[in-house]
Symmetry: C2
Amino acid sequence: MKLLSRQEEIVLLSIWKLGDNAYGVSVREFISELTDKYWSIGSIYVPLERLTEKSMIEAYQGEPSMKRGGRRIRYYRITTKGMEALSEIRKLQNSLWEGFPGPAAS
Amino acid sequence: MKLLSRQEEIVLLSIWKLGDNAYGVSVREFISELTDKYWSIGSIYVPLERLTEKSMIEAYQGEPSMKRGGRRIRYYRITTKGMEALSEIRKLQNSLWEGFPGPAAS
DNA sequence: TTAAAATCTTCTATTAAATAGAAGAAAAAG
DNA sequence: CTTTTTCTTCTATTTAATAGAAGATTTTAA
């Protein structure tokens, strides 16, 4: 299996962390706060679509009417395949980073 | 500063690990063994050149005559800037992966 | 001493991913 | 009913990853 790209890793983990509140806008906010960087709309939605095509995440519709103005929300959840891809990249990272000085992983 | 790409992370850390034996072919071998995957020549040399342009690594010539047939070897070492980029990406990974089930980082 | 083989890098083309943001859809608020 | 908000779709552009042929340099072997 091909390795996860950086952005795929970040987006996947964000979805995992956001639980039942993972959708385009919330993922973007989460990543912005985490990295303290600007992220364009496309830099979130394009990977979301690609990860969906690869079946690493799947989309589902939220409740028909939720508070606040806006379009119907397209939520995402991570799939088994997505979790496997994360585990694989983590194993690689563990080998690669072994012995590196500085703060250890949490 | 822009985040390191996946391949940049892998190549940088390989150079760091290989110490005074880091050059194109040895980096490629190292990564192949680590990942148990095929890596084309270009998938190593292209990032090496880009990292050099970005001053995250620097090249130096090896001894004029070393054993084995072959062209003069172009060795690399990681720079301060390269180490900083690694530290930055590691910090991000530590936040991102916090709480993820499975083997912790080493 | 030349030819062949080995080791290594340069070069360039192609494919894939990241980044950017305008435009539009849907719902709530005024 | 118009405006404002929230959210996604779409598509263009830039950047990175992948591939491997070709060429350079050195050793080995004939």
